[in-house]
């Protein structure tokens, strides 16, 4: 069917119906999942693909999943070519079979109507455990595919409607927290089934030919709008450079290099020159790297454009094999969706800052403060584990808006929830002692980064393992267009006995003894625009509210205030100071060198220890 034969009304109707089907899939998974990583942190994506498979529709899903799902679906379809039937449900988690990382389990059902395979109903969910050597599905410690957990090639969970109990058993026998993992798997399958049922209903209502031809039009519509958006970006080559803190072992400030070529309606992102493959689990898979390279462009365009294959086809990515952005088997890619993905996204944004100044965000937190905590509850003997999202970092400022707090990572784009403190304390043997904004933790700008958070956790019944798999302690979120960077932040353990403190890197595995305190101070996002352009009244309120110190208000924002608790603005002095500061040139992107974070240096006191990539170190036994 050509575009001229499209009924614009039916088009809108069907577009709305696809959205509501995916929304229903999303609610089914979110509200019936077992573990907080799916039920609250919403680390999952639901989507509909056509038979080919091309993405037709996703809804409020994780960009790092939805911009790469087509790769693993194609692999599943290729593997089972000629053996795809009504009632089948497939699964796959292997990054070497074009999945993102081993933590993400894809479950997908082909949707047949009257014997015709029309769609795929897909859910990808991050599992709390993969049976890795450490009790975390994400880790920088692991060095190969056998250490990061069970790799699942494309296989059938259901074969023509018959559940394969042996396959379920094999999977569940290889992961921790079996009851919970089974619950999560059932919730994912429930979501896939919801999508399948609703798609069959849709086709019965409108007819297969009508639905598929309009699905084609949905792709053409997005394609058309995406073409216009990309065509409006000046053609040219744009360069950016960023750094990953460490490989988890002995490499530091690993470079990420990006060359973006905009040519008419097409964008090509080339990561040649990026650092060598990492020893630890912080390598990218091809799927995560091409997603990370695409996402910034998906955020530059009008958010109103339906995100589907029609958009994605305009962006291509080259990632040389054997580097940190595209590891070679059997290297571990355990943390791939965050490290190096977040740094890649940030670097694309840096590259595009001059060409698209009103569209690029400043740098955001790259998962530096999202520890996996685990232990055995001394009161019950039960093992427990939770990924903690209550102290994560802030987003970068953008034109028109300060960044949000607690966005966790750039890849999550704010779509993850944290657990209530009371729920955490009810479920796990920990006490949260503080969860509060950290003054001056964000980058300053005309629009500030979202603030960082001070989050303190005390294990109260048995020791607590703390596994971190992030970035940004050494290389903080950048400021853009004159904005300043975030602080970088970090974590340490404070021993109850003597108050001594042990700091550690963003890729660590430490054990916190019962009664000691785990302290995280997350970075705020980078600032957008020159701070002297920030509305002085907003700066005054930031100071009154303790978000920004008086010192910073004066030195960077050029705002002069009285000493009152509710300070009074000295407009005249402010104007004069701002005129003075205007003469100071601020870089387009700040910092321009690796290792620029200052938080650790400023926070460390004499006697504090610093553990570099510790592997299972019990804090207190580390001297």
């Amino acid at each position: 069917m050509s575009a001229t034969q499209t009924d614009p009304v039916l088009f809108s109707v069907l577009l709305g119906r696809f959205n509501s089907i995916v929304n229903e899939m999303t609610l089914t998974l979110e509200y019936s999942a077992w573990t907080s990583i799916l039920a609250l942190n919403r680390d999952f994506s639901c989507a509909i693909y056509d038979a080919e498979p091309r993405q037709l529709c996703m809804y409020d899903a994780l960009p790092s999943h939805t911009a790469s799902l087509q790769l693993v679906l194609r692999e599943i379809a290729r593997t089972f070519e000629g053996d795809i039937h009504e009632g089948d449900v497939f699964a796959c988690n292997s990054p070497y079979r074009w999945n993102s990382h081993v933590g993400d389990l894809v479950t997908v059902a082909p949707v047949f109507v009257d014997g015709r395979h029309l769609f795929w109903s897909v859910t990808k969910g991050h599992q709390m455990d993969t049976g890795a050597t450490v009790p975390s599905s994400v880790s920088a410690v692991v060095q190969n595919v056998w250490q990061e957990g069970l790799h699942i090639p494309p296989l059938k969970l259901y074969d023509r409607g018959v559940k394969r109990d042996d396959v379920f058993d094999l999977y569940l026998s290889n992961v921790r927290y079996r009851e919970h993992s089974e619950g999560d798997l059932l919730a994912q399958l429930g979501s896939v089934e919801k999508g399948r049922e609703r798609l069959v209903e849709l086709v019965r209502e409108f007819g297969a030919d009508v639905v598929t031809s309009y699905a084609e039009q949905m792709l053409a519509y997005s394609d058309r709008r995406m073409s216009e958006e990309i065509a409006a970006v000046p053609d040219g080559e744009y360069l950016g450079e960023g750094w990953v803190d460490t490989d988890g072992y002995d490499a530091f400030d690993i470079p990420i290099k990006v060359k973006v070529t905009v040519d008419g309606e097409q964008v090509r992102i080339d990561l040649d020159g990026s650092g060598a493959q990492a020893r630890g689990g912080v390598n990218g898979s091809y799927a995560t790297t091409q997603a990370a390279a695409s996402i910034p462009f998906m955020q530059y365009i009008d958010p109103d454009i339906p995100h589907n294959d029609g958009c994605l086809r305009h962006i291509e990515c080259y990632a040389p094999e054997g580097t940190i952005v595209n590891a070679r088997f059997p290297a571990a890619t355990s943390a791939a969706t965050i490290v190096p993905s977040d740094a890649i996204q940030d670097t694309v944004n840096k590259a595009m800052a001059a060409a698209l100044p009103s569209r690029v965000p400043a740098g955001g937190a790259r998962c530096g403060n999202t520890p996996q905590l685990a232990g055995v509850d001394a009161r019950t003997g039960e093992p427990w584990g939770v990924m903690l999202f209550n102290g994560t970092g802030g987003a970068g400022g953008t034109e028109g808006a300060d960044g949000w707090p607690l966005v966790e990572s750039i890849g999550a784009a704010g779509g993850v929830k944290a657990q209530p403190v009371e729920q955490l304390e009810l479920l796990y043997p920990i006490r949260i002692e503080r969860m509060e904004i950290e003054t001056d933790s964000m980058g300053f700008g005309a629009f500030n980064g979202g603030p960082g958070v001070r989050c303190e956790v005390r294990p109260i019944a048995g020791e607590m393992e703390c596994i971190t798999f992030g970035d940004n302690y050494a290389n903080p979120p950048h400021g853009v267009l004159g904005g300043t960077p975030g602080i970088g932040g970090g974590m340490y353990v404070e021993q109850a006995a003597d108050g001594s403190r042990a700091f550690f890197t963003a890729t660590a595995h430490v054990v916190v003894r019962e009664g000691d305190l785990l302290v995280g101070v997350s970075t705020g996002g980078g600032g957008y625009g020159n701070p002297i352009e920030r509305d002085a009244e907003r700066v005054r309120r930031d100071v009154r509210d303790g978000l920004v110190s008086r010192t910073a208000a004066r030195a960077l924002f050029g705002v002069v205030l009285s000493d009152d608790p509710d300070p009074v603005l000295d407009a005249e002095a402010t104007a004069a100071l701002r005129a003075e500061l205007a003469a100071v040139e601020r870089p387009l992107v700040d910092p321009q060198e690796p290792g620029a974070a200052t938080w650790l240096e400023e926070t460390r006191r004499e006697g504090d220890r610093y553990l570099v990539n510790p592997k299972g170190v019990v804090v207190g036994d580390d001297d």
Binding site: Y31, W34, S36, P303
Partner: protein, 720 residues
């Protein structure tokens, strides 16, 4: 003054009245029901500077219509329920008083952090929604309680007094006290409140353990802060109305409509002010539930379509769906509320073509000013109302009883210019397209509260209220596969009517962790007993006898280790044990399967919040049976060309005035039935009948609906 009345009764005969008063943005609606079943409807222009003035003026007109003086009328009023926007408006307009928050030291930013969720992942320019307490008034008290209620850190009273000092210096009018784990041990909150009252005198102080005694600090804190924010406003307003009415002779206490769909005395509402948010719209389900009883149908979906929004609510088994996830201005409300789902689809919703060439309707609305292009008041963008005018569905001369002349030429111009030309459609196709898109949006809203929650709406009756509902009702029903539509006689003052038939309702809850595999549940038994005693006591204090009081028990349950709960009814029992638990498990498994496609039978279930709802049943009202028609053939008032989606064509259509119809009359579509406040479109193939109580039912011809749909998809061409 504007007004309208129907079926005025002679006030000289003895009898009592029930009155519902609903304040909206444009009109204050009155519904008066006599104990003989007579109904008076009245619309008074809202006086937004002092809403109580419109109440006084309206009551005067209503009384005059009954040939009574206001005091004579009020003496005979047995029930007066008021739905007020005072609370909601203070929140939406953010013009409430300065409030303070005292939180556990280290946790004062909980309202800012929210649940850490930022919506719209691809919109990086979205601003944080902010809150209702500035950070310099969010202070910490040194104290800490553990999940089992044990005191970890005793309350440092000096830290409370220091906070009081700041609150005083800043001139706060109300303070919310919300500490961690106050739900299991409220001692610290209570002591802190005592100190604050001592220090601050007449400042209102509210404790989270009183407002929302449930686990989850964000919702509990938000609910308490919203309460503090609106309390000074609604207290002044409600006391004023109360004094005014009792001064005029109202013998019974004024009742306020609550968010939970029931009403309560002013004192009760001021104890938990957050219940006064969304006070008006929450009455729609009460009206619908009344019709459910009247019609003997338990399953309804109500849609209330006004100028800017469509409010949708599902009634299953005669009960409105409740939600604890409601928000106002992006702040969680926390208390259970009638689950009214709103979308920006009303008569004033604007149609536009996006830059990819797709036709869109809403969510932007032309509102009352400038209003649709047809109003001739400066609006130039085409609205849903303009599409109706252009398609002959709304008569220019009949709108609001002729009080407002509609300019059909302006409607046509607007539709052609903003939709027809960009899309290459003729006027009819463009205007028809607007209606089809808005209908599709409405279908989406109905699906969101039904199929997306596992409810199949096809056996349900669609109840339509609001001025614009009747024009969309039958098409909406057909698209969803619903066979029957009801348009109440009181459609124009639907919520005010709901207030005259609602019950008094109080919700109680207790956080108490338990697992279904436990042997004994003494604490649960005791909690239920206490909550029931409290519920009865409060209802008895409002004058309800034992036979009018109904107690409902429920619990928030999940499989052990699961994260989200679902609320299920609990059978009454003196002492819970394994027998009751097996029944509860069965209910839970069935509900879980219905919502999520699967259940894990055999796994134990854990419980978090035990709930008791106390309902004081208002005696049933009856409606009069207007004289049936004499069986003469109906003669339409005229005919005009009207477009119907089902045939995608303009057909010559009979037009009837509602006033000329009598119970028992039946009209086959295509037809238009109009009055001064509402218009009903009867589609080809459908049949409208006038019910004994004066309302209208449409039997929807869904059999041919599938065929019609297919016709639509093949013959409606864009660029013909």
């Amino acid at each position: 003054m504007t007004g309208r009345k129907e079926d005025a009764v002679d006030g000289s005969s003895p009898g009592t009245f029930r009155v519902g008063i609903d304040i909206g943005g444009t009109f204050t609606d009155f519904t008066v029901i006599g104990d003989d079943g007579s109904v008076s409807l009245w619309k008074q222009a809202t006086t937004s500077d002092d809403p109580s003035r419109a109440i006084a003026e309206g009551l005067e007109w209503v009384a005059a219509g009954l040939r009574l003086k206001t005091p004579e009328f009020l003496e005979r009023v047995s029930l007066l329920v008021h739905g007020t926007t005072a609370g909601t408006n203070a929140v939406i307009q953010r013009n409430g008083p300065k409030v303070g928050l005292l939180a556990t030291e280290g946790f004062r930013d909980i309202l800012y952090f929210r649940d850490a969720f930022k919506p719209e992942r691809f919109n990086i320019h979205l601003e944080h929604p902010g809150g209702f307490v500035e950070r310099n008034l969010r202070l910490g008290a040194v104290e800490r309680i553990a999940p089992d209620g044990e005191v970890v850190t005793p309350l440092d009273e000096a830290s409370v007094r220091a906070a009081a000092e700041t609150f005083r210096a800043e001139g706060v009018r109300a303070v919310a006290v919300a500490f961690l784990w106050s739900v299991v041990n409220p001692a610290h909150e209570r002591r802190a409140a005592e100190i604050l009252r001592e220090e601050l005198g007449d400042v209102d102080v509210l404790c989270s353990s009183d407002i929302l005694p449930e686990v989850g600090e964000w919702e509990r804190t938000s609910s308490t802060v919203l309460s503090a924010y609106i309390l000074p406003v609604i207290k002044a307003y409600m006391r004023k109305v109360e004094d005014h009415l009792s001064g005029l002779g109202l013998a019974h206490p004024l009742l306020i409509m609550q968010i939970n769909g029931g009403c309560a005395s002013v004192d009760e509402v001021l104890r938990r002010p957050v219940n006064a948010v969304h006070s008006g719209p929450a009455a729609a389900p009460a009206a619908a539930a009344w019709y459910a009883r009247e019609l003997g149908e338990d399953d309804l979906i109500t849609v209330d379509m006004g100028g800017t929004s469509l409010d949708v609510c599902v009634i299953v088994g005669g009960q409105a769906g409740m939600s604890r996830k409601l928000q106002v201005e992006s702040q969680p409300i926390g208390v259970p509320g009638v689950d009214v789902h709103s979308i920006g689809a009303g008569g004033g919703s604007i149609a536009w073509v996006d830059n990819g060439g797709a036709l869109r309707v809403g969510p932007r609305s032309a509102g009352a000013t400038p209003g649709p292009a047809a109003y001739g008041a400066g609006g130039t963008e085409p609205t849903v109302t303009d599409a109706h005018v252009a398609l002959g569905r709304l008569a220019p001369e009949a709108f609001l009883g002729g009080q407002r002349k509609l300019h059909d030429d302006r409607s046509r111009d607007a539709v052609e210019r903003a939709v027809g030309e960009p899309l290459g459609l003729d006027l009819i196709a463009a205007a028809g397209g607007i209606l089809r898109v808005v209908n599709a949006n409405m279908v989406g809203a109905v699906r969101a509260v039904s199929v997306e929650r596992g409810i199949d709406p096809r056996g349900f009756t669609l109840v339509c209220g609001g001025g614009a509902g009747g024009l969309h009702a039958a098409s909406l029903a057909r698209a969803i596969g619903m066979k029957r539509v009801l348009i109440p006689r009181e459609a124009g003052t639907f919520c005010a009517f709901g207030m005259t038939v609602t019950d008094v309702r109080h919700d109680h809850s207790r956080a108490l962790h338990a697992v279904s595999s436990d042997e004994r549940f003494e604490e649960v038994d005791a909690a239920f007993a206490e909550m029931e005693a409290e519920a009865r006591e409060r209802l008895e204090a409002s004058g309800f006898g034992p036979d009018q009081i109904e107690i409902q028990r429920s619990v928030d349950a999940r499989y052990v280790g699961q994260v989200h709960e679902i609320t299920i009814p609990v059978p009454p029992a003196e002492a819970y044990g394994p027998t009751q638990m097996r029944e509860i498990e069965e209910r839970f498994n069935a509900e879980h399967r219905r919502h999520f496609t699967y259940a894990r039978e055999g796994l134990p279930i854990e419980f978090l919040h035990w709930r008791v709802t106390g309902v004081g049943r208002i005696p049933e009202t009856r409606q009069p049976a207007p004289a049936r028609g004499d069986g003469r053939a109906l003669v339409p008032a005229g005919t005009r060309g009207v477009w119907f989606e089902e045939v995608d064509a303009v057909v010559e259509t009979a037009v009837h005035w509602m006033e000329a119809l009598s119970p028992g009359d039946r009209i086959s579509g295509p037809a238009i039935v109009q009055s001064s406040t509402t218009t009903i479109a009867v589609n080809p193939g459908d049949v409208l009948s006038v019910l004994d109580n004066g309302s209208y039912a449409i039997d929807v011809d869904i059999e041919s609906a599938a065929a019609a749909q297919l016709t639509t998809t093949t013959t409606t061409g864009a660029n013909r």
